[in-house]
Symmetry: C3
Subunit: 199 residues, 3 copies
């Protein structure tokens, strides 16, 4: 688990960074920037916990991820001009976060005895993309997962991979396969600029 | 119940169609169109289940309605240009969906022993209009129930009718009366273009 | 408690008024104005109840606050032109509401045996500002707590004050200190037009 915990922390930092940068661009005040960072980093997990009746949500019981988000947001306020040079690096961190959060969400389905393919996908995707959806709603943009690139699709394929390798492979290999598959699909779609068709 | 189940399926198709058409108009990619269809069709029921602590929500335990939404969304991508000719037909299907979802939501209040007038109205309206509200939020429009026509009002009157006929009439007559009243009010407001006043 | 109940009612009226005025400005119909008033007045408490698994939410079990919101919304439709003269007065009532709702939300953390500093702040702030955030989302504006003035910060300091005075002072002094601190900070920020810095 320790590798995935580390990935989760990398993901939290990347998600919080994405939220903070969005807030700075939208001219929010410092509090707004911090709130948007927290929302992006913890929103997916909170939505997942609401769906499965896990209350209070994990992010409220353990303030670690909120604290990481606050520190990331404050740091990004100071180094804003430098940070935009590392867009590509941030996208890769974000992909790692997507993989870690999706794997964690799908794993939660198993831990709560809801291990059907459908619920694993729903909880994996909700955890992976929910924070970004809330962030976009707060700053009045159509959520990017509805518009751009292969993002949620990577999470869906990853969660499905988790489900189908579950019976064949010993723990925690299926969870790691979910993480790896999600990250690889997401990174490939960034590198080759792959998009889904528009009708 | 079988008639209302059928109405629920018609409603799911109509709601998913409304969501998919909105997504196509807003130039979302295929995944976005599907997600918006699912949101519109299942969002009301999910919000209702969150309010009454019914977890995981019914739409997650039984994937039928999500599958119907996906199929509807994919189909509407192919026949998009033809479908806009049937606007009136879609509005009628949507009214049937509103009635079926409202009746189902209000009935849930009784099944969970919350059969006060107030909770029956809240759960009926939430189930009936919640999906459309979420859809409008996602595509950055002020939810249409706040702006247009007699929509939520039909659901409120229907749910109130359910409550008041409950003691007088045998099951499942009150639930069907809710369905019929909601649909009739909604259809009349479409046919005669009735609107609520603006201050 | 009776003083805080009274403050809660003043707050509900002020929040409902803010919601109704927003709805009138945005040209919503009468139903939309009422819904926005209810959302603003009860949304924070409903979000808090969802987070702590308190279902159905308090606002659904006791319709008093919804009824107060409806009456306030209808009244504000009639006296709309007069009411805008009392902007300053409404801001003060809103500050009282923020204090009362924050104190109530933080107190809920204690009643549910979650009395850590972190959860008291989260529940206090959610209850105090959640309704306004939902209102702004519904009318397609970036939530004002992300953009303007010292608002959520007043709630955070108030909830922290509750936590730190808890062990030293007898009940219900800590709760009232939360109320007073929140209101004073908020009113001072209005009077002296204090804002948080933008990056």
């Amino acid at each position: 688990m320790i590798v995935l915990d580390l990935m989760g922390i990398i993901g939290t930092v990347a998600f919080a960074l994405a939220g903070a940068l969005t807030g700075i661009k939208k001219k929010l005040d410092v509090f707004g920037v911090i709130m948007l960072a927290i929302t992006t980093a913890t929103g997916g997990g909170i939505l997942r916990d609401l769906l499965i009746g896990n209350s209070p949500p994990f992010a409220l019981r353990d303030p670690t991820f909120v604290l990481i988000s606050i520190v990331t947001a404050l740091a990004s306020c100071f180094v804003y001009h430098q940070i935009t040079r590392f867009n590509y690096f941030i996208l890769i961190c974000d992909a790692i976060g997507l993989g870690a959060f999706t794997a964690g969400g799908a794993n939660m389905a198993i831990m709560q005895d809801h291990n059907t393919l459908f619920i694993m996908i729903v909880l994996g995707v909700t955890t992976g993309v929910g924070g970004g959806v809330l962030r976009d709603l707060f700053v009045q943009e159509i959520p990017f997962v509805f518009r751009k690139e292969i993002y949620a699709v990577a999470a869906i394929v990853g969660a499905a991979c988790f489900y189908y390798t579950q019976s064949a492979l010993p723990e925690p290999v299926p969870m790691y396969s979910c993480f790896v598959v999600t990250v690889v699909i997401r990174v490939l779609s960034i590198v080759y600029d792959l998009n889904l068709p528009v009708v």
